[in-house]
């Protein structure tokens, strides 16, 4: 888990990795309590292999294929006369990135955006789109496209950080919640639900 990686002393990590043959005795006394805690947490980890649903596997494989198709190699040869313009361009780039990554103030919320891939397995569908709070619930705004995987539809969007609600629209009139996402009632009765995406 991320927080364990961040927190434990390097010598405790060596113990967890089996590098200390003498076990706890090889550690400084001040680290032994922390090491026991780490060992206890390690013992609580479920050793069984995780179960991955078919839908998730299909989404991952579709993403991998899409990435492989876009792969390009870029080789830039830097000559001496190009050094000054290159450094100037790098300085401008650093400045721009710094502005984008600037920490938000107490009043202004973070405005970071994230790229999200929406995937639905719908083998019998003729058309699929996604509609939600991010596109004014417009079913025609964000169509999904068929992927190489049979019956798998997908679309990639860049969305601002925050909470978004959405649903898939199949063949223009069937509203379908994302089976892979949390969902809440849409508030209109009739048992329909909106999927929730929190970024």
């Amino acid at each position: 888990m991320r927080h364990e990686d961040r927190g434990f002393h390097p010598d405790v990590k060596r113990l967890l990795d089996g590098e200390l043959r003498g076990g706890l005795d090889d550690l400084a006394p001040a680290l032994r309590e922390e090491a026991q805690e780490a060992l206890r947490l390690l013992a609580e980890v479920d050793p069984t292999a995780p179960v991955v649903s078919d839908a998730l596997e299909a989404r991952v494989m579709a993403a991998v294929r899409a990435k492989r198709g876009r792969r390009r190699e870029l080789v830039v040869r830097l000559r001496p006369w190009m050094l000054a313009p290159a450094l100037a361009a790098a300085a401008v780039l650093v400045l721009l990135v710094g502005r984008v990554l600037q920490a938000p103030t107490a009043q202004a919320p973070a405005v970071a955006s994230l790229t999200v891939r929406f995937v639905l397995v719908a083998p019998d569908a003729q058309r699929v789109s996604v509609a939600g709070t991010f596109n004014q619930w417009d079913p025609s705004a964000t169509p999904l496209v068929r992927t190489a995987e049979a019956g798998v539809w997908a679309a990639t969007l860049t969305l601002p950080a925050g909470e978004h609600q959405y649903a898939f629209v199949v063949d223009g009139d069937q509203w379908v919640a994302d089976p892979a996402a949390p969902a809440i009632p849409d508030g209109f009765g009739g048992g329909r639900r909106n999927s929730v995406l929190t970024l």
């Binding site: 927190g7 619930w137 909470e163 209109f188 929730v196």
Partner: protein, 219 residues
């Protein structure tokens, strides 16, 4: 004097006119006239109380696009306003007065997902005020995953109490989903994650290495 008063009155009316125009533009022709009138009325009521109007507009558009009957849309819009009012009251109870509209919307989402006002108040006061919106969104998302509200509060409050930043909480829904995929119930997953967060919080920062003694200097 009368001229100045008239100018001030006109200036005061400009934002209201712009706000009204914005809602009308967003509703466009997608929303029936009677629904649009109700949206304007509820949005004005929300604005007068310092509440965000956007969730009301969004719900009206959603209802119309989904071809929901006008009476059901009206009921949903009133429910959205009620949740916003409940959220704002809870946030004022947590010391935010007036509460930020973004946090109010996040609290209303959490209430819609299954938390009650006292739980929203507790979570809003559990971490830094600047991260309250994220905290409440994560809480709502956990509830939407099927985690019971009491376990949601326990998990989120424990994680914040253990020193996690609100932004770190964004990983919790995926962790619950992973545990559910392994066969746990959402409640069991939340309890397990809360226990792990508490254990990490008790451990505190790692001890530093002892400083080596200074090397003896050559005479």
């Amino acid at each position: 004097m009368n001229y100045r008063l008239a100018m001030l009155a006109m200036l005061a009316l400009v934002p209201a006119a712009l706000a009204g125009q914005s809602i009308d533009e967003r509703l466009g022709a997608r929303v029936p006239r009677e629904t649009a009138a109700l949206v304007r009325e509820l949005a004005a009521r929300a604005a007068a109380r310092g509440l965000p109007a956007d969730p009301i507009v969004q719900k009206a558009i959603e209802g119309s696009v989904k071809a929901v009957t006008a009476d059901r849309v009206a009921g949903a819009l009133r429910e959205v306003l009620a949740q916003l009012e409940l959220s704002a009251a809870a946030l004022r109870g947590a010391g935010m007065d007036p509460p930020d509209t973004i946090i109010v919307a996040a609290g209303a989402f959490a209430i819609n997902a299954g938390l009650d006002a006292s739980q929203v108040r507790e979570l809003a006061g559990a971490g830094p005020a600047t991260g309250a919106a994220v905290t409440l969104r994560v809480a709502g998302t956990l509830a939407a995953l099927g985690v019971p509200a009491a376990e949601v509060v326990q998990l989120v409050a424990t994680a914040l109490g253990a020193g996690q930043a609100p932004a770190d909480l964004l990983a919790l829904p995926a962790q619950v989903q992973a545990a559910v995929a392994r066969g746990e119930t959402p409640a069991q997953a939340a309890v397990g994650l809360a226990r792990a967060a508490a254990a990490l919080g008790r451990r505190g920062p790692p001890p530093t290495r002892p400083t080596p003694p200074p090397r003896p200097q050559r005479p």
